[in-house]
């Protein structure tokens, strides 16, 4: 058993326009880390870029834009074939 979208093989997605691959079943955050990318959000203030911090959906540091879904938590959302992932500058989760 597994969540929807988990299956054999790999998925292709892009991050800020660059084509990438990941194992099917990874979260967006896991897929980015697996490609050596550790940050994908610019907080609104003068702060540093952010990526995974708590890894369990609690901290909202890892917000990322996936297609037209703005500011989703990269540690929770599974990456899908064809996803266009973009650095997020959102202040609030879209909810």
């Amino acid at each position: 058993m597994g969540p929807d979208g988990v299956g054999f093989g790999r998925v292709r997605f892009s991050f800020d326009g660059s084509p990438l691959e990941a194992a099917r079943g990874m979260t967006v955050g896991g897929a980015l880390l697996a490609n050596g990318i550790v940050s994908w959000r610019r907080p609104p203030g003068a702060g540093r870029p952010r990526g995974i911090f708590c890894g369990t959906g609690g901290c909202f540091d890892c917000l990322v834009d996936v297609g037209d879904r703005r500011a989703v938590r990269a540690c929770l959302v599974l990456v899908r074939d064809g996803d266009e992932v973009h650095t997020s500058t959102s202040r609030r989760a879209s909810g």
Binding site: V6, G9, G25, S39, R48, F53, T56, R73, L76
Partner: protein, 455 residues
């Protein structure tokens, strides 16, 4: 969704699974709600990867724990996976409504239930230090989740630091996965402080520690007690960590600082019960005497101060998986008794058996709690510009200035500084903020309260 369900169990870790199984076995219709994609909670992470995908490494999590195997057989348990409870309210007639939806909102619906078991667990407790907001610095739990569920590691040359029983298994897992763990840094001045004699009464706990220690020894990973990462440096990710030797109160010892080249740092300082839902329902909670955490108050049957609302596991006090599971059995039986599915004498016999085991498990948990206290010297790690609230980017100096300016408790400091007002609602910075305000104002943790206590 329509119809009123007997019992909702919120959280599918050991406590929630045990509660759901017990209520199910006593004839209750159970809805089990959890944010994870599979049962197990934060302690049993199943691999999200398809076994044939080539990246799914074999981990301990793949050996299916009995609770997870059993929940899949349970007849009357409906498991809502990847589902969050956003809000909860209890009406005059005692029915509880839960607002549930996907992890990113949308598809929101309500569930109406006669009884609730809150098994929402605990979040990792972290303390701020310069550079903790650099990419590549994560909680130890994050490193563990990424490894167990996705076979991903954040760095290739890492430090694991902080305090508490989580350090060893996280470091051992990373070492086994091929990560160069430069050292494990435990801030507590163990081993003298570790209650080895008492631990001897609990062979499974000892065995786990011994297994992890053996793995670390095989990979030549040193365990240094009385040390901490007190700063991280880098531009777009962590490149160096500053390590210092600590005195008993965790103050960095002069002349002991040195730098290590790393590409990731994983930190943890214990756990903090997740209280949003119990507080939404009006459940009373109790402040920990020495840690900046609170826990849901429960009686011996795991009933909270609100009729029909029960709690089990870390949300009632951080005591580990064994206590959580036993409390889950008790809470599930208590919910069934509350619904009239269990005679008082049958309940009493069941409860007696569970309570005897619970007593032993809680004693070990209490000793671990004492062995890993937070010490005030960490207040010397941040500098004026260190981010405290990662959401609102409140800086360390602002906290002290707010207290000096007359803010007497955590909520007053929040109003002045916005610390804890971001989307994580203070889950990450809340404990450190409470500790810092207590220290700066000279008032107790209970007196300064936390971000969500009333005044």
């Amino acid at each position: 969704m329509s119809g009123v369900i007997d019992v909702a169990v919120v959280g599918a870790g050991p406590a929630g699974l045990a509660a759901a199984l017990t209520a199910d076995s006593l004839g209750c219709e159970v809805t089990l709600i959890d944010a994870g994609s599979g049962p197990g909670g934060q302690i049993h992470h199943q691999s999200l990867l398809f076994p044939g995908s080539g990246q799914a490494r074999r981990t301990a999590a793949e050996q299916l724990p009995p609770l997870i195997a059993r929940i899949r057989q349970a007849k009357r348990v409906r498991h809502l996976a990847a589902t969050s409870v956003w809000w909860a309210a209890r009406d005059q007639g005692g029915l509880v409504t839960l607002w549930v939806g996907g992890p990113e909102g949308g598809a929101e619906t309500t569930v109406q239930v006669r009884a609730v078991v809150l098994a929402t667990g605990a979040a990792e407790l972290v303390l701020p230090f310069p550079g903790w907001d650099l990419p590549g610095v994560t909680t130890a739990g994050a490193a563990q989740v990424l490894l167990q569920s996705q076979a991903v590691t954040v760095g290739r040359r890492v430090l694991v630091g902080g305090s508490g029983p989580l350090l060893l298994p996280v470091a051992a897992g990373l070492a086994e996965a091929g990560v160069r763990v430069v050292a494990v840094l435990e801030a507590a001045p163990a081993p003298a402080a570790l209650p080895q004699a008492q631990l001897a009464a609990y062979p499974s706990q000892l065995q786990e520690t011994a297994d992890c220690a053996a793995v670390l020894a095989r990979h030549r990973v040193p365990l240094r007690t009385g040390y901490a990462v007190i700063a991280c440096q880098g531009t777009d990710r962590v490149e160096r960590a500053v390590i210092a030797r600590l005195d008993r109160d965790w103050r960095p010892l002069p002349g002991s600082r040195r730098e290590e080249t790393v590409d990731a740092v994983h930190v943890t300082f214990g756990f903090s019960p997740v209280l949003e839902l119990p507080r939404a329902l009006g459940c009373a909670d109790v402040q920990h005497a020495s840690r900046p955490t609170a826990a849901v108050a429960c009686d011996a049957s795991m009933a909270t101060s609100v009729t029909g609302v029960f709690a089990a596991g870390e949300v009632t006090g951080v005591s580990g998986a064994d206590v959580a599971e036993l409390e889950g059995y008790l809470a599930g039986a208590s919910a069934a008794r509350y619904l009239g599915r269990l005679h008082a004498d049958t309940y009493a016999a069941r409860a007696r058996t569970v309570r005897a085991r619970l007593e032993n498990a809680r004693q070990l948990a209490a000793r671990l709690d004492e062995a890993y206290p937070l010490r005030p010297g960490w207040l010397q790690w941040p500098n004026a510009g260190t981010v405290v609230c990662r959401c609102e980017e409140t800086h360390w100096a602002e906290i002290g200035a707010a207290v000096a300016g007359g803010a007497r408790d955590v909520r007053a400091v929040r109003e002045v500084t916005r610390c804890g007002m971001g989307y994580c609602r203070g889950r990450i910075c809340g404990p450190a903020l409470q500790y810092a305000v207590s220290a700066a104002s000279g008032r107790s943790l209970a007196e300064v309260g936390d971000l969500h206590t009333g005044r």
